[in-house]
Symmetry: C2
Subunit: 476 residues, 2 copies
């Protein structure tokens, strides 16, 4: 292996080793299931202490890049399996290091909101004033229901970087992703229509479909995407108007579809004339080197309506998002948008357009990814440490951890208890009926700063331990 | 009569006389049907030339403040009858004074848009920057679905000036009036429900109700409001979910409900448990001294949902409006709003709040009323002059004239012909099916400046005359 460690560097040797191995794995130079050298072999080869290699391998394991086989050694983890369920191990000694019942208000893991301190207010203020200066009152007129044409062009250009090839005529501006869901429902659904959704799914979407009188059919999610057998069985007997999906960093599970399942899904689209709605609400927020690939980028048959919001990567207060609309339904979408609110604020559209053209957005997304990445890794670290007996997947992206609670802990009771301890979580019952709901909670880490993440998850862990004890006493 | 004319003033004597008489009439000092002095009597009394009195009376008549009885003299016109149908008389000699087929683009009477040159950009820019300075990134977070609380309070205060007594808890912020209609439909309508609307009505509302699967029942409009007999007959056999109304300066007719009918309607609400949706889209734009009274201000039984937009009186690009919601349906409205777009831009809400607190808005409305008033009076003048044989009411407010075309002129053909002559009108067929639609056109004057109003209406008049001639030749 081509590894060079700089012994005089300020960066510890094990970090250097970790980073270089990480790159070799992510570039595919070390392929999936490749057996790594043993600790001793590599220590000798690099002329470093064994503990350096142990620490580097430990970090790789924590980052879900390698896995251990007992008595056999360490192997490169296949990408598809990055999302396997992990058994969280807790170190009880650490759980008391934070005292809770803070007076400063709640630690809020319930809202998947960005942190306002991360917003680029200086650049944004400048863009606002530049637009007022340039366009005057025209910026505040009614705008085309489809959106402000220069912005539609800028977005088309922007998308070509993500390998989505569309023209301005395919891009429709909307006032946030939620409105996109509402408009699609208005354009396509009438009473009694079928809609397929992932199970669990974003409740704000399901509510819209139900409000149009649609019948919801739930497709079970596996760690790498929908259960394709179940989906195809259903498609053989039911013709849904569309299937609503979040193929990357799904809400609430954090699950991403494997590349294989993405392609498989598009084959089913052709076979059954299935229309997909892809809600790419946080696809930009990948904490691996490799960005997440939108389903839309594989779509060569106009099978996918693509919804993209700037709320998570920029600012929710912008209230600007966009749709990419397949040709046959453009007219219907335009008239549904008009009925909904005539047009999205032309002023905000112009400001965003300026932003895109100045390439400030990409720079800002890199910054957000870095900041949210720190929070993500801290949330994972804290969950492993403090949530004894809980199970969770590591999405390496997005805004949420979806955590299976230890046996016997009900998420709705845990929610109440944590709230008393000034920590807000989302109980799984919000997303799933019955036992499955009671067994899960969602932790949204994006709006909480790193110290509070540790503190908050420690509180949740302590609360769980208290509940366990009480149930042992109660059961005795 | 207590009239004093200043002979040395720069203002012509007949204008002074007109204004003072206008005030006496509007204050009710000269009551309805009061017989004015004859020309000679008043000329002698004021020691002015008869022609001064003739001109002043002419202006009063043009402003629909007095009416003439042949051989009897001039009388104060009862307010209720301000809206009677007028026979437009044209002076053929003037019709050629404008040449058309201008190269500069269309004269657009089809869009009821404000003129962006009237927007208060300097004040607005300041308010924007003050909000960014004060609130930073928090201004761009998600906001409460019901709206930003300080704005809800400011609006409640603002409404008390209009004799609508509500608290902040009754005010719900929305992204424009169209969204209000959409949200109300989402909260209240399911497949097969009945909705009553005025006939003709705003098509953008009817489309939303139909999209929810509602059955639309049309209530004929008279010059002073709905046909109350017809309405009550229908209420005896049908229970609608609500009746959608525009009680002041109705779109497209310009008609306002008489105070009597407003009160009558609220009695029917109690008797039949009827819920009213009042869309007050341009009630502030009264070109008489007396402001238009919202139906909501008479509502003491929570019978009226009130929708108010800032698009017409401020800037459409603001995309902020509000609802006043009766207690029993608040929860449903809140959840429908969440489904629609989560929340309205908190940033724009904060800017508008600053505006309301600085009392800049009222000042701006006064300015808009003055500017639009000039356009209104010019549109009426030009219509009387150039549209021979057309009939129209004088709404003294709002943004539109609703004009009945001379016998034999089809509005859809007129629309096509005018478009070729670079003038856009809205044919009545957009609002009404069959003959009634063909017989009317809507002229929206708010977005066109005074010179172009005269020019544009002259072109419409000429086009009508051409069509008349052709049909005479064709018929010969």
């Amino acid at each position: 292996m081509n590894i060079r460690l700089a012994k005089g560097s300020s960066q510890p040797l094990y970090i250097q080793l970790f980073e270089q191995l990480k790159e070799l794995i992510e570039q595919g130079i070390l392929p999936e299931d490749y057996k790594l050298p043993t600790i001793r072999e590599l220590g000798r080869e690099l002329n470093v202490n064994n503990i350096t290699v142990v620490n580097a391998y430990k970090l790789l394991e924590d980052h879900k890049l390698i896995y251990k086989k007992v008595g056999s050694g360490s192997y490169v983890l296949p990408i598809e399996e990055n999302l396997i369920i992990n058994n969280a191990v807790s170190n009880e000694d650490d759980r008391q290091e934070y005292d809770y019942n803070t007076e400063e208000g709640y630690i809020d893991f319930a809202t998947a909101s960005p942190d306002p301190r991360l917003f680029p207010m200086t650049d944004f203020k400048k863009a606002i004033n530049d637009v007022i200066e340039r366009d005057g009152g025209n910026a505040f007129m009614y705008h085309d229901s489809r959106g402000y044409l220069p912005l539609r062009s800028s977005i088309a250009d922007y998308l070509s970087k993500k390998e989505i090839e569309v023209g301005p005529e395919d891009v429709y501006i909307i006032s946030g992703a939620q409105q996109g869901i509402d408009i699609i429902a208005k354009a396509l659904l009438t009473n009694g229509d079928y809609v397929f959704v992932e199970s669990p799914t974003y409740t704000g979407a399901a509510a819209v479909f139900k409000s149009r009188g649609a019948r919801i059919v739930e497709i079970p999610l596996q760690s790498d995407g929908p259960d394709m057998n179940e989906l195809e069985k259903l498609l053989q007997v039911i013709k849904p108007k569309f299937m609503y999906t979040m193929p990357n960093f799904q809400n609430p599970t954090g699950c991403s579809y494997s590349e294989r399942k993405k392609k498989h899904l598009l084959l089913l689209c052709k076979k059954y004339k299935l229309l997909i709605v892809e809600d790419d609400y946080s696809g930009d927020l990948s904490y691996k080197e490799k960005p997440a690939t939108p389903l839309k980028s594989y779509d060569n048959a106009d099978s996918v309506i693509y919804i993209k919001s700037f709320s998570k990567i920029f600012m929710p207060g912008l209230r600007v998002a966009f749709l990419i609309i397949p040709e046959p339904i453009k007219k219907m979408i335009e008239s549904a948008k008009y009925m909904t609110d005539i047009s999205t604020s032309g002023f905000m559209q112009r400001v965003l357009d300026l932003y895109l053209n100045r390439n400030i957005l990409d720079e800002h997304i890199r910054y957000m990814k870095k900041e949210y990445g720190l929070r993500y890794f801290e949330a994972v670290r804290a969950a492993k440490k403090y949530l004894r007996g809980a199970l969770f997947s590591q999405p390496y992206g997005g805004l949420n951890l979806w955590i299976r609670l230890p046996e016997g802990i009900d998420s709705s009771k845990l929610y109440e208890r944590c709230k008393k301890n000034m920590v807000l979580i989302t109980p799984g019952t919000v997303f799933l009926k019955g036992e499955e709901g009671e067994q899960h909670m969602r932790i949204s880490f994006s709006g909480v700063d790193v110290l509070d993440i540790t503190k908050g998850i420690a509180i949740v862990g302590n609360t769980i331990e208290e509940m366990k004890k009480e149930s042992r006493i109660g059961g005795a």
